[in-house]
């Protein structure tokens, strides 16, 4: 993928639109009284608190747990022997230690990648086929539900990704470089939105992912149920959409690049309390 310098016509218009929107939102905030701008943030915080009880993600958790314990696939087996990093079948606490290195595959893997491995090895599914399936369809929907349940089994625990293995350390460094890599028609990188404190797009606060952004924020807030489309998004889905928003080509599902980015963000978020599966706009 070549980094592009200079802006073509379409990119210039897009950039102008983004700037116009930014200026408009700033003007709106300044045009009203300071107290009103503050109460908007309070209002939204109140709205989010009202939705905290009764997160529809629970519906996906129930599905995920059923999928873990149901014999499926050509080998008619459950996922209960799947090793998520803490030993076969150990689900509690596994989520906050992913991604990590797995000796049996020789790779650093995140949760979705590990589920693909287990679904292939234990149940006989074709991992490549599932990786190529669009989000929300077929077995992809099942993986989303599984991430909802598995992450719920670590809810309240602190992010604690291992960095003891040489592969894990390498993944962190690769992830960091990918995070700051500028490209695409708008010359964005992850850092454009998530590289500094206090950034915001309209009314969405953008967490600084180069460090620990706090409990239940950023890496510690996915998977999440998105009310805007009523879908449960895994971290893989979230990353895919970030690439789309940057107008980059789509990354491969559970590719090394996406896993490396998760390692970078997850290690930076060390100590942050996970609230997954969370509730998002």
């Amino acid at each position: 993928m070549k980094a592009q310098r200079g802006l073509g016509g379409a990119a210039l218009r897009a950039l102008a639109a983004v700037l116009a929107a930014a200026v408009c939102s700033v003007a709106w905030a300044q045009g009203t009284q300071a107290t009103q701008a503050k109460s908007t943030a309070d209002g939204i915080a109140e709205y989010r608190a009202m939705l905290a009880d009764g997160n529809p993600a629970e519906l996906f958790e129930a599905k995920g747990e059923a999928l873990w314990k149901t014999a499926r696939g050509p080998k008619h087996a459950t996922l209960q022997a799947c090793d998520l990093g803490k030993g076969p079948g150990v689900v509690k606490g596994a989520f906050v230690e992913l991604p990590r290195y797995f000796a049996d595959t020789g790779r650093v893997q995140d949760l979705e990648s590990r589920l693909l491995s287990c679904m292939q090895t234990l149940q006989g599914f074709n991992a490549a086929e599932i990786a190529a399936t669009p989000f929300g369809k077929g077995e992809q929907a099942g993986i989303d539900a599984l991430t909802a349940w598995i992450s719920s089994e670590s809810r309240g625990m602190k992010m604690n990704l291992p960095q003891s293995d040489v592969h894990e350390k390498a993944a962190y460094e690769v992830g960091k470089r990918l995070f700051f890599f500028r490209g695409g028609p708008m010359d964005f990188s992850c850092a454009t939105c998530h590289g500094a404190d206090g950034k915001r797009v309209r009314l969405q606060d953008l967490p600084n992912l180069t460090k620990n952004p706090g409990d239940g924020i950023g890496f510690a807030a996915w998977p999440a149920y998105r009310v805007s489309n009523g879908q449960l998004w895994s971290m893989q889905h979230r990353l895919n959409d970030c690439y789309r928003q940057q107008r980059f080509p789509y990354p491969g599902y559970a590719s090394d690049a996406t896993i490396a980015l998760s390692v970078y963000m997850g290690v930076n978020a060390h100590g942050a309390e996970s609230i997954a599966p969370a509730l998002k706009r």
């Binding site: 209002g43 109140e46 709205y47 009202m50 939705l51 915001r200 797009v201 606060d205 805007s228 009523g230």
Partner: protein, 156 residues
């Protein structure tokens, strides 16, 4: 009364339709389908909703309260509740003024249930929302508030 005649007509047409579709509905389903008040749920304003329910025009009352956020980050899911502190509440309704159809939900309460219900609704745009309480003595009371609907940025 008009309600009953309408209901009987709808009963017959639904039953015919279901039989034509080859479905053998359970009694509960048939009764439910017959009783659904489409007219109320297709009304475009509070006055028409109340007319479709055969009720009088609602009067504002401080004994009724409507609960919801001042701002909803996304109109797809807006928590909305209705409560009434008076005894004898038979029904609680939730209305969204600017939605294509005003009536969102209508709850029928037995005496065992507190007149305090909350659910979540979709709002197409910033709008007034109403909680309407229909009491056993025929009184119809309401409260309102405004809920602003915004769309956030990139989906955080």
């Amino acid at each position: 009364m008009t309600d009953r005649r309408e209901m009987l007509q709808r009963c017959a047409s639904v039953a015919t339709m279901l039989m034509a579709a080859g479905l053998l509905p359970a009694t509960a389903r048939a009764q439910a389908a017959a009783a659904f008040n489409s007219a109320a749920f297709e009304a475009k304003n509070m006055a028409d909703v109340m007319k479709a329910l055969g009720a009088s025009a609602p009067a504002p009352s401080s004994d009724v309260s409507v609960h919801g956020p001042d701002i909803a980050e996304n109109g797809a899911v807006v928590p909305l509740g209705a409560a009434c502190t008076l005894p004898g509440v038979k029904r609680l309704l939730l209305l969204v003024e600017k939605n294509p159809n005003t009536l969102s939900a209508m709850f029928e309460l037995s005496e065992a249930v507190e007149p305090n219900i909350a659910t979540r609704v979709k709002m197409g745009q910033s709008s007034n929302v109403f909680a309407v309480a229909m009491l056993a003595d025929g009184r119809v009371l309401f409260a309102q508030k405004e809920i602003k609907v915004t769309l956030g940025g990139c989906g955080g």
